[in-house]
Symmetry: C2
Subunit: 370 residues, 2 copies
């Protein structure tokens, strides 16, 4: 079992905490720990459950509280982190407070290239809609300059790049813009539904029931080095999958960088030499393993959800009005879709499924990117 | 790997959270998750680090905040817990708020004996000294009546029983008093240094470098059914070991009760029939596995601590005054003694060392307990 652990990695994880279920740090902490990472979890909110239930109770940390906790670590020399994983923060000021933590850790590591790496998940919205205050967007735009890897979803990539993603061409344009605008060397856009995009170049779109994950590590001239992985989509919405993706990526990227050797681990931002093709990038190798683990866990979650829903049958209580009955049914279905994490840990440690990473070749790109 | 998981168990864990290191829920959550338990962590404090560093920053939850989080779970039907593990609470009102949670869960389960079990760690102090406010003691005394298993250390057992533990006789007296006063069916007194106690009965005290863990499950007449396990003591103080003990006990006791069969799982408070000898109690079987896991993890922690301290050498900085130098050295030694949890998970899952559980026979007890 010790063999399936990734190299020793100390992670500061700054994200939300929920008592029940697995999103934010309540997902990421266990995922990274299972792979052998030492995780320090700084929680930006403390909620009873995730917001998909449409009701919750709990508290949000203020920017000052986040800063204080970090100062607590500093004063006792407890900031020897290899990686910062930053996720949801509940206000623009909180995003800036987390940004200052990242900048401070970077500053401490500045004479040791590669000794600190910042993975930033710019949690702002999904499906065409912001679910944070408007002022959170400029706060992220200021912060992302300092990150080494960002993990926007399709909507967040649009917000950050200013490019509406409607085709492979505009997807490439968005990634190029993100590399250029924010000087961020690594990007993964999690879950793009390519079948909805218009076709361009010679690479066919995957079929309708597939999701595509697109990533890129810049070359030294700042141009993108794009890869893509297509994975079968599962017919259910699961909360916390973005956090699972981010946490697995931290562990698997670190592992792939160590495996790559050739001093990559001590290279600023772990950027591979220009002659490494996109499919051989540590980021691409990591993504394949990440998606494999996720697919197995979510497949089993779907089975367990279906069994749970079938066992009890839908909420039918004549004493409840139709609105209350609908609400109870929503709660039941949301609970049933909680990711089945702890008893599927073997799929986190030992990914089984083999997905294929595809280089996104120059000839597949629109003319201006070739 | 799936084989080393305990039966499916949903635990509500109410205790402290630290960003860095492993105490409270920052210990217990991962320990229980590693063994396959689904853990909902409700955090009573959010500190940067444990108090053994002698400095920390962070926030304490109010009683109202604890209650609100639980109400958040209730309103979304997320209270289907098999076990409550309650640990540190930062005030008397918070202890009472946690108590109300336990009572509510018990109430919900009252028509299904054995379907809910409450493990209570009455965190009040250690080594002869309270580290909570005086009013926390009566709050615990009111609450413990409802618990199924309590895990006091020697000092806390003295506080709860009113008996000063100075000998095997007074130890038996304390446990008997706890069973009787609080109607609590299971007790484990964690770490008693028996070599310091005066001898009584025919069972010899263990040698000086051993710790003794004493447990008991009542018989139907309320009398104690005592067992003891002696384990080699390690020459270092580790924070969070009480929380590791409690978390492992939740998982292993649940496992042992399922293994015991004969309807024990659906018996109120999982109390074995009177003819089960103390050494065959699920509580005793669990304790042996718990201590085995702990011994392996702590042995490796000690090795890693020594290596870490040797690698850097003591704090020597001429620019610091002697007081500051001493403080820095304390911080360094405290950090080095953080329990090495995540990379030793195999010892949690598959305990190797074989400790022996001893029945504490009637003839070893002072006359009034025979």
């Amino acid at each position: 079992m010790a063999d399936s652990l990734v190299p020793e990695t100390r992670v500061l994880a700054v994200a939300s905490h929920v008592v029940y279920g697995h999103v934010g740090n309540s997902m990421a902490t266990f995922v990274m720990q299972s792979l052998g990472c030492e995780v320090a979890a700084l929680n930006t909110v403390h909620f009873s459950n995730h917001t998909g239930y449409r009701q919750f109770k709990g508290t949000r940390a203020t920017a000052q509280e986040i800063t204080d906790l970090y100062q607590g670590l500093r004063q006792s020399n407890l900031t020897d982190f290899d990686v910062l994983l930053s996720g949801y923060a509940p206000s623009a000021a909180a995003v800036e407070a987390v940004g200052s933590i990242g900048i401070d850790l970077q500053q401490k590591a500045k004479n040791k290239p590669g000794s600190f790496f910042w993975v930033l998940d710019p949690v702002m919205g999904d499906q065409g809609r912001l679910y944070v205050n408007d002022d959170v967007v400029p706060a992220y735009k200021k912060t992302i300059h300092h990150a080494d890897l960002i993990l926007p979803n399709q909507f967040e990539a649009e917000v950050l790049s200013g490019v509406k993603i409607t085709s492979l061409a505009t997807l490439a344009e968005a990634i190029t813009a993100i590399h250029r605008t924010y000087s961020v060397p690594h990007v993964i856009i999690t879950s793009v539904q390519l079948f909805r995009l218009s076709q361009s170049g010679s690479t066919p779109n995957p079929p309708e029931n597939f999701l595509t994950v697109i990533g890129s590590t810049t070359r030294s001239d700042g141009s993108p080095r794009l890869f893509r992985v297509d994975v079968p989509a599962l017919d259910c919405f699961f909360s916390g999958t973005g956090d699972m993706f981010a946490a697995l990526t931290v562990a698997r990227l670190r592992e792939a960088v160590v495996v790559a050797g050739n001093g990559l681990q001590t290279t600023k931002s772990w950027v591979s030499p220009d002659d490494v093709p996109s499919s051989a990038l540590p980021l691409a190798q990591a993504t394949v393993k990440v998606l494999s683990s996720m697919h197995s866990v979510l497949e089993r979650t779907l089975e367990a959800r279906d069994a749970e829903l079938a066992a009890a049958g839908p909420t039918q209580n004549g004493d409840l009005g139709p609105e209350e009955q609908q609400k109870q049914e929503h709660l039941r279905r949301t609970k049933a879709a909680e990711v089945r994490l702890v008893r599927n840990v073997r799929f986190l440690r030992d990914p089984l499924v083999q997905f294929t990473v595809q280089e996104w070749k120059k000839e597949d790109l629109p003319a201006q990117f070739q």
